[in-house]
C-alpha cells in the first residue's frame, strides 16, 4: 500500500520558499554573466539552431543540375498526402527528354501536418522536408506556397540539387 | 560400300546441265514415279525412313501424310534458306545438281498432288539462284514442267523465290510468311502448315537435301535406301565440315558414321600441333560436345540426341584448343540477338540480354554469378515462344557455360588473351 509523504512544517512557511527560489535564480544569473560562451540560449535570429537532417520542416523542391526543378508532376506526393494540401498542375515540356514538368506546385502550409509522407512517396527525390520551420505571416499573408518559395527561396541559395539527376538516371540505364 | 547416293556425279561439270544430267540417268526416276500412284510414293518414302535433313529430323513420309485428303490445292515449298551457321551443303547441291532437286520436287509434288511449288533460296546465294533458274528454264523447255508433264496428265509449275537475308526465314512458318510478302515472322501453330500454311492452304515444307533424297529412294526402292545408315536414321547425309580441320568441305556419309572418322579421315584431321577441344555437331543451335563426347559420338539422330545435342543440319564445326569458348559463345549469342525476329518477348528480350551479358563476360567485366544468370535466363527462355529460335539461342548458352565452366571462370579471372580491343571490335 502506498504511504503519502507529507511535506515538513518548515517548508510550508512562505518566506523560506521565496529565498530558496531567488537563491537559485541569482546563482544561475551570476554564473551565466561570468561564463558567457557556455550559455545554452542562442542569440536568435543571428544564431540559429542546427536541426538534424531528418527534421521535418518546410518543404524543399530540389533542382536538377541545369537549374530546373526535379519534380516530374507525377502526383504521388499529392496522392499520399493525408491532409491533401498539395495541388500540382502538370504540363508538357518542350524538351522531349524531360517530357512532363509542373507549371504549378503549391502546398497549403496551414493544412500541412508535416508528416513527411510526400517525401517518402516521391520516386525522384524532388520534394524534401527542409531543416527550417519558421513560416512567418499574419492572417492576410498567403500561406499557399508555390514553386518560387519551395525551390528558390533565399535560404536555399539557388536550390538544393537532387540526388537523382537525369543524366545519371539514364546513364545507369534505369 | 559406296555411300555417294546424291553426290556421285557432283564433280562432273555437265551434271549441272539438263543434257548432262539426263545422260547420267536423270529424269528416268520421274518417268517411273509418274507411272506409280501418289499414295504408293508416299508409302515408299515413309518406309524408307527418310527424315528431314534441314534440322528438325521429322520423318518426311509422316509429314506428307498429315495433308488433308480432300482435293484442296496445296503447295510444296523447298526450304533453301540455309541460314544455320556452319551449313553450306544446300549451296553445293544447288550449284552442282539443280536438276536432281527439281526432279525430286516434281516427284514429291506428284506424290502430294500439288500444282505449284516454290524454291525459297536465301538472298545472298546469287550464283546458286542463277543456276537453279537456268535449270528451271531447261526443264520447262523440255516439257518436264508445266502442263501435262511427259504426257502423264500431271501438270506442275515451279518457281524460285529469292529471300532477303533473315535467318528466321529458315523456320517453316517464317519462310511461309516471307513468301506471302510479309516480314519473315513465324506463324502461330496450330494450325500447322500441313493444314493451313502458305495463303492458308495445306503446305509441305522440305529441305533441299530431303527432296533430293526422294530420287534415289524411288529409283532403288525403300529397302535399298535402308541399307545405308542405322535402324532409326536411314540413308546418307551431307555433312558440312568446317572449323579447325585441314580439309573443310561437304562430305556425304552414311548416317551412323563415327564423328571422329569424319574429322580425321574426310576432314584430314586437325591442323598440326593442335588438340581437339570441342565439336558443334549440328550447326550453331546444336549444344556443343566436349572432345571426349565427340570421340564417342556417331553421326545419327539418336546417338546425338542421347548425348544432349542434335544432328540438326549436319554442320560439324571443329574447335581446337587455340580458340576461346567464351569468344565463340559471344559470337553465337550476337548472331541470335541479331537474327531474332522480335515477335515473342522471351526470345526478343532474352537474346538481347544473353548477348549483352556474354559481351560483358568476354570483356571480363563480370562475376561468376553472371554465369549462373546466363544459365537462368537461357532456361527461362526455352519452350515459351512460337518458334524454336529461343531454344536455338538458349541451348548453346547452356551447353557452353555448363560444359566449359572452368574455362569461363578462368577467363573471368585472367581476362581475354587477345586483349579487350579484339573483343570490342566484335560489336
Amino acid at each position: 500500500m502506498s504511504v503519502v509523504k507529507r511535506p515538513s512544517s518548515v517548508s510550508q512557511w512562505y518566506l523560506p520558499g521565496i529565498f530558496v527560489g531567488l537563491y537559485h535564480t541569482l546563482k544561475a544569473l551570476l554564473y551565466n554573466l561570468s561564463h558567457r560562451q557556455k550559455m545554452q540560449t542562442l542569440d536568435y535570429p543571428e544564431e540559429k539552431f542546427e536541426y538534424s537532417p531528418r527534421f521535418k520542416g518546410t518543404h524543399v523542391l530540389t533542382v536538377k543540375k541545369d537549374g530546373a526543378i526535379r519534380c516530374t508532376a507525377c502526383m504521388l506526393c499529392a496522392t499520399n498526402c493525408p491532409a491533401q494540401c498539395i495541388t500540382i498542375i502538370a504540363s508538357e515540356h518542350e524538351d522531349p527528354s524531360v517530357e512532363k514538368f509542373p507549371i504549378a506546385y503549391e502546398i497549403d502550409m496551414l493544412r500541412c501536418v508535416f508528416c513527411g509522407f510526400c517525401e517518402e512517396a516521391c520516386p525522384v527525390d524532388a520534394v524534401r522536408m527542409g531543416p527550417e520551420w519558421q513560416i512567418p505571416g499574419i492572417s492576410g499573408t498567403n500561406f499557399v506556397k508555390g514553386i518560387d518559395f519551395l525551390a528558390f527561396r533565399s535560404q536555399l541559395k539557388g536550390g538544393i540539387s537532387s540526388v537523382l539527376d537525369d543524366q545519371e538516371r539514364h546513364g545507369q540505364g534505369i | 560400300m559406296e555411300s555417294k547416293l546424291l553426290t556421285e556425279h557432283y564433280d562432273k561439270e555437265s551434271f549441272r546441265t539438263l543434257k548432262g544430267y539426263q545422260e547420267l540417268g536423270g529424269y528416268e526416276v520421274l518417268k517411273k514415279a509418274l507411272k506409280m500412284k501418289p499414295a504408293e510414293i508416299i508409302a515408299t518414302v515413309k518406309e524408307s525412313g527418310l527424315r528431314g535433313r534441314g534440322g528438325a529430323g521429322f520423318s518426311t513420309g509422316t509429314k506428307w501424310s498429315f495433308l488433308p485428303k480432300n482435293d484442296e490445292d496445296r503447295y510444296l515449298l523447298c526450304n533453301a534458306d540455309e541460314g544455320e551457321p556452319g551449313t553450306f551443303k544446300d549451296r553445293l547441291m544447288m550449284e552442282r545438281a539443280p536438276h536432281q532437286l527439281i526432279e525430286g520436287m516434281i516427284i514429291s509434288a506428284y506424290a502430294i498432288g500439288s500444282k505449284k511449288s516454290y524454291i525459297y533460296i536465301r538472298g545472298e546465294y546469287t550464283y546458286p539462284i542463277r543456276v537453279v533458274e537456268q535449270a528451271l528454264r531447261e526443264a520447262y523447255d523440255a516439257g518436264l514442267l508445266g502442263k501435262n508433264i511427259l504426257g502423264s496428265g500431271f501438270s506442275h509449275d515451279m518457281d524460285v523465290y529469292r529471300g532477303a537475308g533473315a535467318y528466321i526465314c529458315g523456320e517453316e512458318t517464317g519462310m511461309i510468311s516471307s513468301l506471302e510478302g510479309l516480314k519473315g515472322q513465324p506463324k502461330l501453330k496450330p494450325p500447322f502448315p500441313a493444314v493451313k500454311g502458305y495463303l492458308k492452304k495445306p503446305t509441305i515444307v522440305n529441305n533441299v537435301e530431303t527432296l533430293a533424297a526422294v530420287v534415289p529412294i524411288i529409283r532403288d526402292g525403300a529397302q535399298a535406301y535402308r541399307k545405308f545408315g542405322t535402324e532409326k536414321s536411314a540413308g546418307t547425309k551431307l555433312f558440312s565440315l568446317s572449323g579447325d580441320v585441314v580439309k573443310p568441305g561437304n562430305y556425304e556419309v552414311t548416317l551412323g558414321y563415327k564423328l571422329s572418322d569424319l574429322i580425321n579421315n574426310e576432314g584430314g584431321g586437325l591442323k598440326s600441333g593442335r588438340k581437339l577441344k570441342a565439336v558443334i555437331p549440328g550447326g550453331s543451335s546444336a549444344p556443343v560436345l566436349t572432345a571426349e563426347e565427340a570421340a564417342k559420338a556417331t553421326l545419327d539422330y539418336e546417338c546425338l540426341q542421347q548425348m544432349g545435342s542434335m544432328l540438326g543440319s549436319g554442320a560439324v564445326i571443329v574447335i581446337d584448343d587455340s580458340h576461346s569458348m567464351v569468344d565463340l559463345l559471344s559470337t553465337i549469342m550476337h548472331f541470335y540477338h541479331h537474327e531474332s525476329c522480335g515477335q515473342c518477348t522471351p526470345c526478343r528480350e532474352g537474346t538481347g540480354w544473353l548477348d549483352k551479358m556474354l559481351h560483358r563476360i568476354l570483356l571480363g567485366e563480370a562475376k561468376s554469378q553472371d554465369l549462373d544468370q546466363v544459365l537462368n535466363v537461357a532456361k527461362n527462355m526455352m519452350g515459351r515462344t512460337i518458334c524454336a529460335l529461343s531454344d536455338a539461342a538458349a541451348l548453346p548458352a547452356i551447353s557452353f557455360v555448363s560444359k566449359f565452366r572452368d574455362e569461363f571462370e578462368r577467363h573471368l579471372k585472367e581476362g581475354f588473351k587477345e586483349g579487350k580491343s579484339h573483343a570490342q571490335m566484335h560489336h
Partner: protein, 489 residues
Amino acid sequence: MLKCTINGKEIEVSSGATIMEAYHKLQEEIAYYCWHPGLSVAGVCRMCMVEIEGNPKLQIACNTPVAEGMKITNESEKVKESVKWTLDFHLINHPLDCPICDQAGECGLQEFYMTYGKYNPEMGDRKVKKHKVVDLGSQVVLDTERCILCSRCVRFTEEVTKTNELGIFNRGDHSEIGTFENRPLNNKYAVNTVDICPVGALTSKDFRFRQRAWYLKEFETTCNGCSTGCRVNVFHNQNGLFRVKPIYDEAVNGHWMCDEGRDIYKHINLDQRLRHSKAGAQQVPLEKALETAKQALKAAGSSAALLITAQYTQEENQAILDFFSNELKSSNIFYWKNNEETFEDFDGLLIRGDKNPNTQGLMNLLKEKSASGSWKDLKAKVESGQIKTVLVAGPEMLSVYPDLNEKVTVLSKTQTIWLSTCEHEFFDQLSLQLPVSGFAEKNGTYVNYAGLERKIQAGVKFVAEALTLQEIVSAFRGANVSKTNEVAL
C-alpha cells in the same frame, strides 16, 4: 458445346473456342497483353501460359482450342514462374518512367507486376534506347521505349479501320512501332489504339498530363454525339469531366468508339455551360425567369410555338409535347433538322451523319402528335406575325448545329424562350434563356437509329440551376422547383 475445368471450376464453351475465351467467359484471372476480344490472335506476349493436364509443355491460352474434358490451370507454380520470367523479359528494356507516364495507375505492366512480379530486377546491362515522344498524328503520341510490341494497335489499323498506318519496323529488340513518314495515324478511330494499348506507349494528346488515372471516377452512359448511341464510360472528378472511353456492347459499338464521340465531355464542363437564366444579356433569378416564361406561354396559349431538336431524351420530349398539346392546346410544333445534306451518311463502322442521339425517338412522338412542321414553316409564321411566342428546346451540342446563327436572328424578333445547355453570345439577342442539364446530368433514354433504347444516367451535376425539360414543364404547371444549389460531383 465442350466442357472443361479451369482452376477447378467447371465451364461449358462453344466448340472451337480457345482457352482464353473460356477464361474470359468465366471472368477468371489470367495475365495477358496481346490478346483482345475484338482483334485477331497474335500470341506474341507469351504471358497467358496455362498448364493442361497431360501436356508437359505450357501452352498459350489465346491460341490453344479447348478440347472436351480438358483440365486447365494457371495457378500452378510452373505457370507462375513462367509468367514471372516473361514479365521480367518485358521489363528489362522498359524505361520505368511511371512518374511521367499517363498510363500509370491503369498500366498492364504495373497490374501484373503486383500479382506475378519478381521484386529484384536482375538485368544490370544497359537498356535499349529508342524514340520517345513520337508525334503519330493529331490525336496520339507514341513512346517506343514503353512499347512491349504486343501489336494490338497494328492489328487494329489492319483489321478494324483497314487503314494500315501502323507497323512494326526493324527486328529483334530494336523493333519499333511507328508510321511511315507522310502517313500519320489520322483516321477517325485513332484514339481506340490508346485504349487498347496495355501500357503507356500510346497516349492521347487530348488527355496528356491533364489528370492522374486514380483521381478519376467513372460512370456508364450513352454517347450523344450521333445517332449510333455507343455505350461509353465517362471519367470525371470534382474538377470536371476528363475523358470518354467505349464499353463493350454487343448490339451497337462492339469494343470501339469514334474520335468525335471522345469530345462529348467537353461541353459539360463549367467553362462552356450556361449557368444562370438570362433575359437578353441580363442575368435573372431562376424562379423569376420560369414565371415570366410560364406567363408568356399561357398568354400565347394555342398560338405559342415549340421548336424542338432531337437532342433530348424520350421522357423530356414526352413531357414538353404533352404540355404543348394538352395544356396550351397548341399544335405549332416544329422539328429543327440539322445538316440535312449529310444526314444519311454512314462511314461503314460507327459514325453516322445524323448527329442527334434521339432522332428516331422524337420522330415516333411527333408522328403520334401528327406534327410535321419544320423550321421553314415556323420561320414563315414568325415573319408573318402569326406566332409571337416561341419555346426553343435548343441543341446541347452547338458544334453540330452550324445554322444556329440564322435561327437566332429570326427568333430574336419575337418573344423567344431558348433552353440551352451551353452558353453562346448569340443567345443574348433572345428575350429569355434557361439553363438545361446536359446528357451527363440526367437520367433518360435515347432511341438510336435502329430503334434500340440507349439508357443515360446522371453521373454529375455541375450547374445547380440547370433543369431537365420535365422539371421545366412541372414548373410551368405551378410546381415549386426549389433549386437548392447543392451540386453533385
